[in-house]
Symmetry: C2
Subunit: 220 residues, 2 copies
């Protein structure tokens, strides 16, 4: 469902180049459950941004459902992301002025879902992640782990085919983290493709396919 | 070194009160190594903010080195924080326009440390946390775990007596997380008081004193 061929990503700073990814060849099957693990700074989030078409590679090609994303217009790319991909970011990025439920509604609003349906779905998703009593809180009125769970709920609103979760349990106690893992496993049983970046080995090894990354390359 | 007596903290929202802490009695000995563990939303960060004098309780009293912080002026409180307390926040809050090294220098600049010394110390601390080659990067040019490590370095600049670390390894792979734990243990061996919030049981149980919190109360 996602394929990367010869992908490189180099960040350019004033006088320095940072080669974050150095030649990635990767094929993710539809319906697979993949975990990506590796040291801090090894390129995991960069890789997730490319898989999720949030960024373009410096070299090489990225295919989503067989389509070369470098050939797509920004509009087509945005539509694929909106309809097909649910992204849980490592650093949250919730909208501070919106409540939890409004933040969860946002991708559905972009996708044209009518108000009544998206409020209902957003409320269900927040209850699913244990935030039924936090719906009206704004991000600054939530704990770290609560914000993380709002992000998880938000990623699921449009029932996406592919869920990309970058450290979704980094701020969660073991029990809440286990709850999130079970949501991901249940989505995978229903045919969704899951790509999970995690530093928790206990969680990472439950995936079907384990990818280890080090210094911008896939190893082992 | 820090004492909380009958401390309560209630957040006020438009029509709702959120009792985040409901009667905390806690005494932290100088030089102790304390870990605080509990479910997401149970009040750990709220408690850390009170211990670190970043917030005032709704009821009860907080004493730092025997001084009731409600009796102190904002200036005196700010001076205690600057000189005595190093805080690693759960959600980072680095200054986006400053580089990593400038972010680490900031508390030292506030404390009046001369330029040459603070640059030297900031560089050493960044090397200590493995970011010697990332000093000129701004926060948006760093990975999640790298930002977290800049925050850890920043907390140590003024050689504080008390280090409050709220989930300092949430974004770090096991090896980097282990590195941070060893820095904290080494600081404790040198007499520093460590208060660590962590959801990683393996790390939490290495503390001298373990505090469990649930629904705003200390339990067990
Ligand atoms: N400004 C606020 N207004 C209203 N409620 C708040 C505010 N800040 C925090 N809360 C609530 O207070 C409770 C405790 O928050 P706190 O951040 O202390 O939890 P925590 O134990 O650190 O959680 P986590 O492990 O998820 O970081 C949470 O349920 C949260 O929703
Ligand atoms: N905009 C940027 N400019 C320059 N360098 C960058 C930029 N973004 C990331 N980097 C660097 O690229 C490398 C890979 O970053 P990435 O965020 O992919 O790592 P990661 O594996 O997700 O790390 P972590 O586990 O800490 O989240 C890091 O060393 C980082 O410093
Ligand atoms: Mg990352
Ligand atoms: Mg917290």
């Amino acid at each position: 469902i996602v394929r990367l061929e010869g992908v490189e990503k180099t960040y350019l700073m004033d006088r320095v180049k940072v080669p974050a990814l150095r030649g990635i060849n990767l094929s993710i099957e539809k319906g697979d459950y993949v975990s990506i693990m590796g040291p801090s700074g090894s390129g995991k989030s960069t890789l997730m941004n490319l898989i999720g078409a949030l960024d373009r590679p410096t070299k090489g090609r990225v295919f989503i459902e067989g389509r070369d994303i470098s050939k797509l217009s920004d509009n087509s790319l945005a539509r694929i992301r909106r309809e097909k991909i649910g992204f849980v970011f490592q650093q949250f990025n919730l909208i501070p002025r919106l409540t939890a439920i409004e933040n969860v509604e946002l991708p559905m609003w972009f996708a044209g879902v009518p108000k009544v349906q998206r409020v209902k779905r957003a409320a269900e998703l927040l209850k699913l992640v244990g935030l039924g009593d936090r719906m009206k809180h704004r991000p600054t009125e939530l704990s770290g782990g609560e914000r993380q769970r709002v992000c998880i709920a938000r990623a699921l609103g449009n029932d996406p085919e592919i869920i990309l979760a970058d450290e979704p349990t980094g701020n969660l106690d073991t029990k809440s983290g286990e709850g999130i893992m079970r949501i991901l496993e249940e989505l995978n049983e229903r045919g969704k493709t899951i790509v999970l970046v995690t530093h928790e080995r206990e969680f990472g090894k439950r995936a079907n396919t384990i990818i280890k990354i080090r210094d911008g390359r896939i190893v082992g």
